[in-house]
């Protein structure tokens, strides 16, 4: 193994071993609050029946292993590296890689926490797919700006309004249609001059419509599984089927 990879690994081991140590200690402390001796639910309680037994065992082993890992990280120079790299930590936080990770998490969270619980699953999946595919597939910063913000902010608003029952599912569905129309229109404005981009844009649009169009009827009517939120589009499908 190259020395630099090893050092990098031991540096991250240094961080993780400390985090896991803290986690394990917290877990152990919490476990001590579980019933240890007193009878609970008609079961005679002694130390070996206690609900705390496995958590204590697991946290104990975790403390042991994280200490072994910490020792290894220190002897291999991981701690040294971590201290040396500490001033550069801020730079690492704003590295391209890390930013992309955050952005992808935002895409997933918007979809899962904002759209799915509150709006029609077809529409939610469609705008998620379009917003997620276009900037990455077409690899364009402009498109990222035009699609990510309406998607993320829209999802945030939908999440809040939906959670507190300010807006009905039907209203949210129309807002989602609005976001989709907005994204389609402004993305198209951005790329209409570029033939190659146009082909990719078309593929993105088709994918984001066809995927839910195949998936949802297959589950709803083929396998008879209800979907998270059934708004106007799924109700429409239901009316067509019956």
């Amino acid at each position: 193994m190259e020395n630099s990879t090893l050092l990098k690994r031991r540096r991250s081991d240094f961080y993780t071993s400390i985090s896991i140590l803290i986690l394990a200690i917290a877990m152990m402390l919490k476990s001590f609050t579980f019933p240890m001796k007193e009878s609970y639910a008609g079961v005679e309680n002694v130390w070996y029946v206690s609900p705390a037994l496995l958590p204590l065992l697991v946290s104990g082993l975790m403390i042991l292993l994280s200490l072994v890992l910490l020792k290894k990280a220190i002897t291999d120079g991981g701690m040294q590296q971590a201290i040396e790299d500490f001033p550069a930590l801020k730079a690492a936080m704003f590295s391209e890689n890390f930013l992309r990770f955050i952005i992808i998490i935002l895409y997933l969270s918007s979809y899962v926490y904002g759209l799915i619980p509150n709006g029609d699953f077809f529409l939610a999946s469609m705008i998620f797919l379009f917003a997620f595919i276009v900037p990455f597939y077409l690899d364009s910063n402009n498109l990222f700006m035009t699609s990510f913000w309406p998607f993320a902010l829209g999802s945030l608003a939908i999440g809040i309004f939906g959670h507190f029952n300010i807006l009905s599912t039907t209203t949210i569905d129309f807002i989602m249609i609005g976001i989709m129309v907005y994204m389609i229109f402004f993305c198209w404005l951005n790329i209409k001059a570029n033939g190659q981009q146009k082909a990719k844009w078309r593929i993105s649009l088709l994918t984001s419509v066809i995927t839910p169009l195949v998936l949802i009827p297959a589950f709803k009517f083929g396998l008879l599984v209800p979907l998270p939120t059934e708004g106007i589009v799924i109700k429409l499908m239901e009316t067509i089927v019956h």
Partner: protein, 509 residues
């Protein structure tokens, strides 16, 4: 004489099914659906059988069984597709397949890997079927010797072995991942006294953490993040030159196939333990007995063969206690039992008397289901490899939507989706720090079993630990665990090396 009559029933059933075009269509169709089901992340064999039970209710028993068994066999096999192609196991049973399958796909051998998987799964299913027909009562009796002691040790062994096998950095990082999984599994009401642990007042956590959102969060989300982040190419999609798999590879690994299949049957027959752990144990055993264990994890065909043979052989194993005693051996078999009861058949010791042909019909159906799986597999292999040509930036968003549906469908719970994202983020960060992820998932799967059985074992022995060393099976398991752990300790390694050196010296002189 009776044997020939039985064999007659077996072939009669096969003949009867093959001459009816509707049955053949149902067989191939259910098997195809099963493969798709297994291949979609989060959709498991259990859910597939459960959903198909509703759809096949109006059919007669034999027809319904054809659909259900084909679905079961197909779904267990189908989990290997995404394991190999995109490093996201479709089911927990196929997690061990990804270790060698994905490296093979990356170097352009994806077609070969899929071909091997197909044949290995086929052979595994058939060996499972033979075990079912030939040794059912014997194996059922042995499997029922498992008491709380053995269940605890088996669960612990499963976690240790997957931690040991998957660490490419320090081995205890794999164990830490396993322990993190165990820690997650203790969230919720405990199984024995229903005391709420680590629920932090969140009502949704009281029922505990479900496996499917953890499975998807831990495997699919890190892969989605990585591929989208780097705009990766999924793999090399080389045209497959031959449809039939390389029989030489199969012949060369015949020893591993037979051993893996036997492991699969044995683990399948133990109630409550299923395909997921069979794949790991078999992978570990094969790695340890292989002349080149260092090739494992780098695209060694024997690794794929080991896990895929075992998880399919598990099906026959799981049906053994089901047919003989009405005790299902694996989670999908639980649903299968429900389906049989819906159709007015109560599997159990009297089935031999009340429905003497049932066992042979079942085996005939299994034989055909595995054949249908093989045919479908050979056909699909050629096409499914083309997935690798789809740009990752288009394909992985689709995988995201599929993961969401898969995560939702089993429990119909939006909370599972909420759980999936943070698990995915933690799994991604751990992966970036070179921690393996599979032990975490195995820990969540086996955690409740370990917890419940450890405490109950001690409750029964009234706190004495002697129970663990008084029973033959538990001694074996205990030794296996100790050896696995010790073989990773440097001091132990030095010692065994010295002994080996001395022995060889003596031989030389």
């Amino acid at each position: 004489m009776a044997f020939f009559t039985n064999l007659g029933t077996f072939f009669q059933t096969i003949g009867g099914m093959l001459t009816d075009p509707y049955t053949v269509l149902l067989l191939l169709g259910s098997s195809f659906l099963g493969i798709i089901f297994g291949a979609l992340p989060g959709l498991t064999a259990t859910l597939g059988v459960a959903l198909l039970t509703t759809l096949t209710y109006s059919m007669d028993l034999q027809t319904a069984l054809i659909a259900l068994i084909s679905m079961y066999v197909g779904a267990v096999y189908g989990g290997s597709y995404p394991s190999i192609l995109i490093n996201i196991p479709g089911t927990a049973a196929a997690a061990a397949t990804a270790l060698d399958g994905y490296p093979m796909a990356q170097r352009g051998d994806g077609g070969k890997a899929l071909g091997l998987t197909t044949t290995a799964s086929f052979i595994g299913t058939v060996i499972g079927m033979i075990a079912l027909i030939a040794f059912a009562p014997l194996i059922a009796d042995a499997a029922l010797q498992f008491t709380s002691y053995e269940f605890f040790l088996l669960a612990f062994f499963g976690i240790i072995i997957s931690g040991t096998l998957t660490s490419d950095d320090l081995v205890y990082k794999g164990w830490i991942a396993g322990l993190l999984g165990l820690a997650l599994s203790t969230i919720g009401r405990d199984q024995l006294q229903s005391y709420p642990r680590f629920t932090f007042g969140i009502p949704e956590l009281e029922g505990g953490i479900e496996v499917v959102p953890v499975l998807i969060g831990a495997f699919a989300i890190p892969q989605i993040i990585k591929s989208m982040r780097d705009r990766l190419v999924l793999g090399k999609a080389q045209p497959i030159k031959r449809i039939l798999p390389e029989f030489m590879t199969i012949v060369k690994n015949f020893k591993h196939i037979v051993r893996s299949a036997l492991i699969g049957v044995g683990i399948g027959a133990v109630p409550g333990v299923g395909e997921d752990i069979a794949g790991w144990v078999s992978y570990g055993t094969t790695k340890n007995s292989h002349p080149h264990p260092e090739n494992f994890g780098k695209g060694e065909p024997a690794g794929i063969i080991a896990s895929e043979t075992a998880n399919n052989a598990c099906i026959g194993g799981a049906l053994i206690p089901l047919v003989t005693l009405g005790i299902p051996g694996s989670p999908p078999a639980v649903m299968l039992l429900g389906a049989l009861m819906l159709h007015g058949l109560n599997p159990g010791p009297l089935v031999v008397i009340t429905q003497p042909n049932f066992l042979y019909q079942l085996c005939a159906i299994m034989a055909l289901a595995s054949l249908a799986m093989w045919i479908n597999g050979m056909f699909l292999t050629k096409h499914v490899i083309k997935v690798l040509r789809v740009p990752a930036t288009v394909f992985l968003p689709i995988v995201t939507v599929l993961s969401v549906v898969g995560s939702y469908a089993l429990g119909l719970s939006i909370f599972n989706l909420f759980l999936m994202v943070p698990v995915g983020i933690i799994a991604y960060l751990l992966g970036e720090m070179d921690y393996p992820i599979s032990p975490l998932v195995i820990g969540v799967i086996l955690g409740p079993m370990a917890d419940e059985n450890l405490r109950r074992a001690l409750m029964i022995s009234e706190g004495s630990l002697m129970g663990f060393i008084e029973r033959p099976v538990s001694i074996l398991l205990l030794l296996a665990i100790l050896l696995t752990v010790c073989s990773q300790i440097p001091a132990w390694k030095r010692m065994t090396n010295q002994i080996k050196a001395k022995v060889f010296k003596r031989k030389a002189s």
